[in-house]
Symmetry: C2
Subunit: 350 residues, 2 copies
Amino acid sequence: MRASPRRATLATVAASAGVSVATVSKVLNGRSDVAPATRSLVQSLLQQHDYVAPSPRRAEVGALATVEVQFDTDFNAYSTEIIQGAVEAGAEVEVGVVVSIRKGADRTAAWARDLVAAGRRALIAVTSELTSGQLAALSRAHLPLVVIDPLNLPRARVTSVGSTNFAGGLAATQHLLSLGHRRIAYIGGPATAACNQARLHGYRAAMEAEGVPVLPDHVRTGHFRYHDGVEGGAALLDLPQAPTAIFAGSDETALGVIEAARARGLRIPEDLSVAGFDDTQIARMASPPLTTVRQPLREMGRVALRTALRLAAGEQIDSHHVELATELVVRGSTAPASRDTRPGAGRPGR
Amino acid sequence: MRASPRRATLATVAASAGVSVATVSKVLNGRSDVAPATRSLVQSLLQQHDYVAPSPRRAEVGALATVEVQFDTDFNAYSTEIIQGAVEAGAEVEVGVVVSIRKGADRTAAWARDLVAAGRRALIAVTSELTSGQLAALSRAHLPLVVIDPLNLPRARVTSVGSTNFAGGLAATQHLLSLGHRRIAYIGGPATAACNQARLHGYRAAMEAEGVPVLPDHVRTGHFRYHDGVEGGAALLDLPQAPTAIFAGSDETALGVIEAARARGLRIPEDLSVAGFDDTQIARMASPPLTTVRQPLREMGRVALRTALRLAAGEQIDSHHVELATELVVRGSTAPASRDTRPGAGRPGR
């Protein structure tokens, strides 16, 4: 990086571009209501000026400030990535990240007050379903909230960070279709979970676009857990019209499917292709390594922490819901469909 | 649980047993200098009285109190379990657990002072190598320290929590020997790491007790990581005298070995038995599920947090190093050695 005598401000960039500060801010926040030419000019100027967005500093947030990242289940490979991102972003501004587990029913009005009394500047709730009563309690306690991957579609204006679940479901299914698979099954999470609905609809959209029917018993719900893959995978593989590929709504579930296949003497990917969702550490350690849809979980943790601190500092947030891009990561668990796709054909041990 | 009008104190139990409070305390702390009959009497009285050890309460530690659990590498399946235990124990006494990552060189004198300024009541360092300078900085800052699974054998009186690594290495190797394996290899962590040395010596002791030679190229070091298993497993399986069983010093490394075997067309456990160490979530999700030595990582996190709070409250700790018991968990990745153990015999794809 080249040295610059003074850090560029939004005003500097706006003046160079001949636009308003508000327009520069819109570009920074990825808003769509900026003309493409203006956007491109502003972006190149931001780069030229080495613009660095100001972050809340320690003095502003207070030496004792902590942000709490709260989960509603035991920690797992998914939470590990979220925590990693939040801790990295917290370290940059010297804000401690407290991690905790709190089941839904334990989130009373006292819960919100206790968090404030304990010095929390903001709360980040992960994959949680928050009731309107809980939201009201946080609001009364003046505790800013950011939700990562909300389970419900909140009616209130809750600030949230997610990923492009629909696009991810689409990409995974298109990948399997491009390998020649036609009997592709989906094992997802709770039917009511927003992220599951988006992944399922991405899967359906890809199948529909290719004119491939989705068999009714080829779509299963679960809780994104390992045993959902073991049980769901077993049920699917024992069907007369067993799938040749299974798209699992999480890496854990995909690993369960791999185990269900192994227990039946099926080889991955020769006899069955398996794709997951998340790209946590377990995906890289699966055998074979798992083809999966990468959610930028660390980045989601980072963005959530920064957004939470902005809210705590009383700043305005342009967009109350941000979706970070997913990306298909192709590894060894998917392969071209074998030519013979008759039920049970070409499979040892059936 | 039956209701009791008053909580039993050490004094009540001591009076009932006709011994001193110090003796009851010794029994509670698992000290060996108590006569067996006395120990057994005190233990049954403790149970009869529903004795619950007093914990530091919120009022004592202060509403803003936090304990920091610091790692020196990115979070993984191992840290997930430690954090889970610490968070559970913290929740019981309403103490927040801050998690962080700090590399060794960044632990300056200011680091210790900053932790105190940020309201930390104690520091729990995980798998860290602490220099005498760093220990002195913590001491000057009056910040109590508990180390989990210390990498070095500290000369100073550092309070630490570990597990019975030697017994664990012994148990895993005895299990493989009992299945008829003779060519058993070990892929461990850093040669200087105390926990690795203990596991390696457990392995050597079991082999020696059976009169089975340890081939020099059958012992490998690493960093307990996945790729150590992929690379070390590949190197071992390509030896003229390839092992029929591999004991890995961590679950991650064991998963790497499974992948190295799969890439060579070897089946687990028919062609190669693999055992790990840790019993993190990835062990249960491996395919086949991994036989491994369970470290009570959650319990280690819980004990470390409680011990840290006792130190912060100025209490005396009887034992400065506690080792919790490991336990062999037999799953699907180990099986009897095939009868033909000539190099390469009975293996497809060699």
